[in-house]
Symmetry: C2
Subunit: 213 residues, 2 copies
DNA sequence: GCGTTGCGAAACTCAGTCGTATCGAAATCA
DNA sequence: TGATTTCGATACGACTGAGTTTCGCAACGC
């Protein structure tokens, strides 16, 4: 009898149920601290508990170690990038890079990105979560845009999609990080997209890309 | 009299001179630990002293804080990239990317790169040192290669050099970090360079880049 | 009401690190 | 030889954080 009851799917365990509010506070506090530049290794359970207004016990009851907590916290980050879909391929790509650029202005996003780039070496599960949360959605969006361009003839039919994504995203990150001047570089997305679209080689005199169309 | 002597340039201070060997051990130990994946924030003076076989005093006597030590340690890293100069622009660029790719295979280099990407947020002097040590030499080499190509007509005369460098280097880093498969990707340099050279737009039928030459 | 479980707060032990101080030995110069 | 400085080693007090335990109270089912 008892066995049947406890085996039920929705069998509520006896006693006071765990507070969802506390759980949300803990995760929010974790993200806040990470967003303030605290690295994963420096992140302490005590600081999280203090920030969340929660006892350490409440954290340890839910997560057995820091990595689990951070992984779960990152999982709640919603990818804030919808599709820029709409105009020409060039316009869409510029829009895409502009969103990335805008994100990298926010301190919080930059810190999270740093964790993704750096701590993923020591925390494979973090890296996996990041790929799933941030990289993959962006890859899907850009791939869709590029594929459309290949169909309309706006792009080469034999374009290497993975390389195209790497060139665009990589260039954006590199420029943001290492461009010698600290200026805002407002036209960065346009410059990247235009260079990528044109390529490095000279065009054979005629400015018209598709003469016979 | 005495004042004149102590004012001399090469006036050796009395007492036992500082050991150069200890200094080298300290710096080497620092680089070793960083190369093993220890982040700057987790790096402890005690662990450095232990690894170097040196008393903590010997470290504190030379560097007043950890950041100074790390900056000095990084300064001893010789940029192992000479010029790949030689063949066509395409070949030189492929060679350049291949060196980066080869570097990123070594755990030590990867860790140092992670520090550059991530800790530069909190340690501006580290970022500065990195730009000077790693970014700037590479920029110079690639810029020279590209400029040569622009002169010979192998590349567009109005090429945006900064963007070209960002596209190439950024794509390499992005691919190494986020390419979905964990495979070696031996042909990555070729693929990146070829996509970058060709650009995304279709060529106007003729495969000959410069008909009138 | 009673048993059970979660809550926040506080105390605890254990370990690591910091930066300083002290020690005897070693290295250098006058 | 003696003064001076560095050497590695060790100890020190202060601090921080981990992970556990205890406490009194709150929330739930029965």
């Amino acid at each position: 009898m008892k066995t049947q009851q406890t085996a039920e799917v929705a069998a509520r365990p006896a006693g006071r149920p765990r507070s969802e509010k506390a759980e949300r506070s803990i995760i929010e506090a974790t993200l806040e601290l990470l967003g303030e530049g605290i690295g994963v290794s420096e992140l302490s359970i005590e600081s999280i508990a203090g920030r969340a207004g929660v006892g350490k016990t409440t954290i340890y009851r839910r997560w057995s170690n820091k990595e689990d907590l951070v992984v779960d916290a990152l999982a709640t980050l919603k990818p804030p990038i919808p599709l820029p879909q709409g105009g020409t391929v060039r316009d869409d790509l510029v829009t895409y890079l502009r969103v990335i650029q805008e994100e990298s202005r926010h301190h919080r996003t930059r810190c999270i990105m740093n964790i993704a780039m750096s701590d993923s070496e020591r925390h494979p599960r973090l890296a996996e979560r990041f790929r799933e949360l941030a990289v993959e959605p962006r890859r899907a969006v850009v791939t869709a845009v590029l594929r459309r361009g290949m169909e309309t003839g706006e792009l080469r039919a034999d374009l290497d999609l993975d390389m195209a994504l790497a060139l665009l995203s990589g260039a954006m990150i590199w420029s943001t990080k290492w461009s010698h001047s600290g200026d805002p570089q407002a036209d960065l997305p346009e410059r990247i997209v235009d260079e990528a679209l044109k390529g490095f080689r000279p065009r054979p005199s005629t400015p018209e890309p598709c003469p016979e169309l």
